[in-house]
């Protein structure tokens, strides 16, 4: 169960090697989290991540989960929920793709969309239903500031996050009043292994900052969290910039 400050005791991470997810897990383990499920494609990285969290004092399990195989989601995630209540699900998987390459390779582009959007739709629905049956729990979904407006430099990734973002908003409304809480997290540029080597955007942030914002959002039972918070205002303004101007902005 969550405590009075919204801190979960058990955590399921979809995308168990994500830097943001692991920073969040470390932060929550320092508070109340005692059980962590890391779901991801079996790999040494996933096992290492589990070992690391175990070292911090959490009982950690890994499960084989593939975002690109929606048919398997119900069975795999159902098993986790059958083991006991999950207080928080962190949907953190996603790929950035390579915009220039993906524009030339539609199959690769479709895979970005399948991972970030299609895979998220099926797994979030499975988790949402399980949380509803429990009568409690948070589904935290990592969207992106890129979901807010298409940018020339990353619109394939951005559009997949936009789909996920809209889906999550709707799911939050659908689950309102059921005890399940859906929280959408929209980070800006986060310095992670996913963005290594990319030119940094203004207001760049870190996985630790995203983790702190997630913990705060849980305490406040927020529906949308921007990281850093200033992005909420920046994007509110950018949303209204005419396209002819937006397109020329150095973003």
């Amino acid at each position: 169960m969550k405590d009075a400050f919204g801190t979960p005791q058990s955590l399921l991470i979809l995308g168990g090697t994500s830097d943001i997810a692991l920073a969040t897990a470390r932060r929550l383990i320092a508070r109340r989290t005692r059980t962590v499920w890391l779901a991801g494609r079996p790999s040494q990285d996933l096992e290492n991540a589990a070992g690391h969290l175990r070292g911090l004092g959490a009982e950690t399990h890994t499960i084989s989960f593939d975002a690109l195989d929606p048919e398997s989601h119900e069975a795999i995630l159902g098993k986790v929920f059958a083991e006991g209540d999950i207080d928080m699900v962190l949907l953190a998987f996603g790929v950035l793709g390579d915009q220039a390459n993906d524009e030339r390779d539609p199959v690769a582009a479709a895979r970005v969309a399948q991972t970030n959007y299609t895979g998220a739709v099926s797994s979030a629905l499975v988790c949402g239903r399980a949380l509803q049956a429990q009568g409690h729990g948070s589904l935290v979904v990592l969207s992106s500031v890129a979901a807010e407006r298409a940018r020339r430099s990353n619109f394939i990734y951005g559009s997949s996050k936009a789909g996920l973002d809209t889906f999550t908003q709707g799911l939050g409304d659908a689950l309102h009043g059921t005890g399940a809480h859906v929280m959408l997290v929209r980070p800006g540029f986060v310095r992670t292994s996913m963005t290594a080597g990319l030119p940094e955007s203004p207001l760049a942030t870190t996985p630790e900052a995203v983790a702190a914002a997630i913990e705060l959002g849980l305490r406040r039972r927020s529906e949308t969290v921007w990281v850093p918070g200033a992005l909420r205002l920046v994007m509110a303004a950018l949303r209204h910039v005419p396209r002819a101007v937006f397109r020329r902005l150095p973003l």
Binding site: M1, K2, D3, A4, R31, D85, G135, H136, G179, R220
Partner: protein, 469 residues
């Protein structure tokens, strides 16, 4: 009791015998502190049979009884399961006006008992800071009041109770048995309390004779409480925890006794009249942070200055002496959307240093606690998970939205556990499960009895899940 618990034949539904139970509704439930809401199916049984049927039909996520929702934390919520609203079982069955006992349903509130009993010259043996608790809740949390140093906790005055257990049967439970001691303070996890017979306190009037004095710091306060408590049935101190430096722990002490008839002078109305005051309710939607440091600091300063240095024999009505906050319905809303946590702990006599360190820490952190109450407990109570033990108990109300509060309270827990003290489960919403066994040494017996009595885990609450009770 319906004897046929056999599965129904797959025939068309037979006509319902008698009025059907009210259908439940699924709704979010929180404790009085309004933190960590979870959703449950709310059922409101009106008869013992309906309660038994509801318990048998609880399903995989179990059920828990709930009274008036004054437990601060998650003791009376059950995510995804059933919550039995007991306020529909609210009959007073018998009053022995000579012997001073009452037999009533668990859903009867202490407020109702006072209304009925005071004109007869009887008072409830123990009342907490609110009348809006049910008798069932009073037993399940084994509540205490300002008279614990004299009278012990509520369950000590219970002569017998009827308990609906996980098998759907009703058992009569009397003091001195393991089931009674597991149920007193057992947070509703041994079963649903249906009725209780309670021993009452004779009073001549519905007035209190109240002494008030100020203490300039914590040492002064502890000395005054130690020296004076035995002279009064009721005793409590309000502490200004925003005061720092030399006045850390300054306080206003209030002691009272039931005023005898001859003490009433002047036109004080009918001597046994029970009168309460009701102010407008707090609005439904208030922002967080109303009770910040400035507001609470100002209040504390005024409250301390307003109290007389020393005053004796002031007549006060029972409602204003015991339950000043009951006058403001929904006062818990003033903490805003994030709600608040109440932190109440006890440390034994001889552990004054631990108490002092905690008071110093809270004062140093400038944690705005609007209500900070210190009192002395008397002899411990037999309930296995009963909170009181001989020593000092301090209760604080703190807005849950305060940054870093969780980690801060964890450090206080360490201090409390290190001093062999404990925190109060009826108020808890955040204790680290690992500390529970140290705080409640009889927890293994409680768990063993539950395993035996309720092997399928029918009775469960969010508190039980969170702490592994």
């Amino acid at each position: 009791m319906p004897a046929d618990a056999a599965p129904a034949p797959p025939a068309p539904a037979p006509p319902a015998p008698g009025p059907a139970a009210a259908p439940g509704r699924t709704a979010p439930v929180t404790g009085w502190g309004r933190t960590a809401p979870t959703t449950a199916l709310l059922l409101r049984p009106r008869t013992y049979d309906e309660a038994a049927t509801a318990v048998r039909a609880c399903g995989a996520r179990g059920g828990i009884a709930r009274g008036l929702g004054r437990a601060y934390g998650d003791a009376a919520q059950n995510a995804g399961g059933t919550v039995l609203d007991m306020t529909g079982l609210d009959r007073i069955h018998a009053i022995d006006a000579d012997g001073g006992t009452v037999l009533c349903d668990a859903g009867v509130s202490l407020h109702r008992l006072m209304e009925v009993l005071l004109p007869l010259g009887w008072f409830v043996p123990v009342t907490p800071g609110t009348r809006q608790v049910t008798v069932g809740g009073a037993v399940a949390a084994d509540i205490h009041g300002k008279n614990h140093h004299v009278s012990g906790s509520f369950a000590r005055h219970v002569l017998s109770l009827d308990l609906l257990t996980a098998d759907g049967e009703i058992r009569t439970v009397v003091p001195g048995t393991p089931l009674f001691d597991a149920t007193a303070g057992g947070m509703g996890l041994t079963g649903v309390i249906l009725t209780a017979t309670v021993r009452l306190l004779p009073v001549e009037t519905s007035w209190m004779s109240v002494d008030t004095e100020r203490a300039r710091d914590l040492d002064d306060l502890l000395a005054r409480l130690t020296a004076g408590d035995r002279h009064h049935r009721y005793s409590v101190a309000w502490i200004d925890l925003l005061a720092r430096g030399a006045s850390t722990g300054r306080a206003v002490l209030t002691r009272g006794d039931h005023a005898p008839l001859e003490a009433l002078r002047g036109p004080l109305g009918r001597p046994l009249e029970f009168r309460t005051r009701r102010l407008p309710a707090a609005p439904a939607h208030l922002p967080d942070g109303l009770l910040g440091r400035t507001a609470v600091g100002l209040f504390n300063e005024l409250w301390y200055r307003r109290a007389p240095r020393s005053r004796t024999g002031e007549p006060q009505r029972i409602s204003s002496f015991f339950h000043p906050l009951d006058g403001v319905p929904h006062w818990n809303r003033i903490y805003g959307r994030s709600g608040f946590v109440q932190y109440q702990f006890v440390v034994g006599y001889g552990q004054e240093e631990a108490l002092r360190r905690i008071v110093d820490r809270v004062s140093a952190r400038r944690c705005a606690s609007f209500l900070a109450v210190l009192k002395r407990f008397g002899e411990g109570d037999p309930g296995w998970l009963s909170f009181p033990m001989p020593g000092w108990t301090l209760a604080l109300d703190i807005p849950a939205g305060l940054p870093g509060l969780g980690a801060f309270l964890d450090t206080l827990d360490e201090e409390v556990a290190g001093a062999a003290g404990r925190v109060y489960l009826a108020k808890d919403a955040r204790l680290r499960p690992e500390l529970l066994a140290a705080m409640y040494p009889r927890l293994p017996e409680f768990r063993a009895l539950r395993r035996e009595l309720d092997p399928a885990g029918v009775f469960v609450s969010d508190l039980a899940r969170r702490l592994g009770l």
